[in-house]
Symmetry: C7
Subunit: 74 residues, 7 copies
C-alpha cells in the first residue's frame, strides 16, 4: 500500500482480496473493486465470516463506509 495518503493505499489494494471488519462484528472477504472518499466499498466474490468461519457467500456487495472498522489485504 502507498504510504502517502490512506486512500492511495486503498487504491493499491484494488482487484486484490481484502478483509473488511465491520462494526457489527462480522467480517467480509472479497475482491476490492471500488471505493470512495466515504470509504463506501464494492467487493466481488464476497464471503461473510463470523468468528473466523465462512458463514455464506454473497457475491457482489456494496458496503456503506460508516460500518467499516478496517480494511486489510489478504
Amino acid at each position: 500500500m502507498n504510504p502517502e495518503r490512506p486512500l492511495d493505499a486503498l487504491n493499491d489494494a484494488r482487484n486484490k482480496r481484502v478483509l473488511l471488519e465491520l462494526k457489527n462484528g462480522k467480517q467480509l472477504i472479497g475482491t476490492l473493486k471500488s471505493f470512495d472518499i466515504h470509504i463506501n466499498v464494492v467487493l466481488y466474490d464476497t464471503e461473510e465470516h463470523v468468528d473466523g468461519e465462512l458463514k455464506r457467500k454473497i457475491g457482489t456487495a456494496f458496503v456503506r463506509g460508516d460500518t467499516i472498522i478496517l480494511i486489510t489485504p489478504q
Copy 2:
C-alpha cells in the same frame, strides 16, 4: 456491478432484486428503484426477513441510508 465507483455499481443494480442488511439486524429484499449519495434507497415489492425467514411484505419502502450496512444483488 461497475467497478469504477461504488455508486456506479449501485446503478448497475437498478431494477434488480437486492438484499439490504440493516444495522438493526433485519434484512430487506426488494427491487432497487432509486438511491442517492446518502445511500437513501427506494425498494419495490419489499420483503422483510429476520434470521433468513420472510417476516412480512411491505411493498414500496424508502430506506434511510444511515441504517444500511450492505446492499447485494440477489
Copy 3:
C-alpha cells in the same frame, strides 16, 4: 412512488398514509404532510404502534430524520 430519486418517491407519498419505522423499535402511522432533505417528516393523525398494536394517538408529529429507518406507504 417515483423511481428516479428517493425524495421524488417520498413526494409521491404526500397526503397518503405511511408507516415510519424508528430506530427505537416503535412504529408511527400517519398522513405524510411534508419532509425535507434530512428526512425530517411531519405526519398528521399519527398513531404510535408497538409490536403491531396501537399504543396511542398523537395527532400531528414532527419526526427528526435521523431516527427513521424506513418509510412505507400503507
Copy 4:
C-alpha cells in the same frame, strides 16, 4: 402545522405546548419558544415526564436537536 416544509410546521407550534420525545426515553412537555435548523429547541415551563408521570419541573430548557425523536403539539 403548515404542511409545506417540516420547519414551517414547527413554526406553527411556537408559543404552544408541545411534547418532545427524547432518545433516552424521557419526555419533555413545555411551551415551544424557539428552534433552529438543527432542531435545537428552547422550551418554557418545561416538565419532565417518565412513563407518562410528571417527574420534575425544570422551567426553561435548551434541548440539543440530536437528542430529539419527535415533537408533537399537545
Copy 5:
C-alpha cells in the same frame, strides 16, 4: 431566555448557574461562561451530580456539545 433563536436563549444564561444533562446520565451544574454553535460549553465552578447527589467538584470544565442533552438555568 430570549425566545427568538435557541442560541440567543443560551446567551441570556451567560454568567448564571445552569444544569447540563449529559448523554451518559450525569449532570453538571456550573456557571455558563461560553458556548459556540456546536453547543460546546465552558462552565466555571462545576459540580458533577449523579442521581441528584453531588459527586465531586471539578472547577472549570470544557464540555463537548455532542454529549449534551439539555441545558437549563437553575
Copy 6:
C-alpha cells in the same frame, strides 16, 4: 480559562495538566499540548485512570475529539 469562546478557554489550558473524560468511561490526565476545532487533542505525559486509579502511563497521546465528554484543568 477565557470566557469568550470555548476554544479560547482550551487555549488558556495549554501546557497545563488537564483531565479528559472519555465516552468509554476512561479518564486521561496529561499536559495539553494542542487541539483543533474538532477537539482532537494531543496530551504529553499521559496517564490513563479507571475509577480514579492510575491504570497505566501512555506518554504522548493523540485523542480523537468525538470520544471526549469533557476537559477540565487539574
Copy 7:
C-alpha cells in the same frame, strides 16, 4: 510530537510504531504510514491485541478514523 496542531503531532509519528485504541475495545499496534484529516490511518506490520495479548498479525491495515479513540507512539 509537535505541539502546535494535533495533526502535526501525528506527522511526527510517521514511520514509527504506534498503538491505536479502537472504540470496539481492541488495540492495533503498527507502523504509522499515513493519515488524513478524518484520522483515517494506514498501518504496516499491524498486530491486533486484546486485553494486552497479541491476538493476530494482520499486516497492512487501513483503519477508518471514526473507530479510533486514541493514537500513541510506542
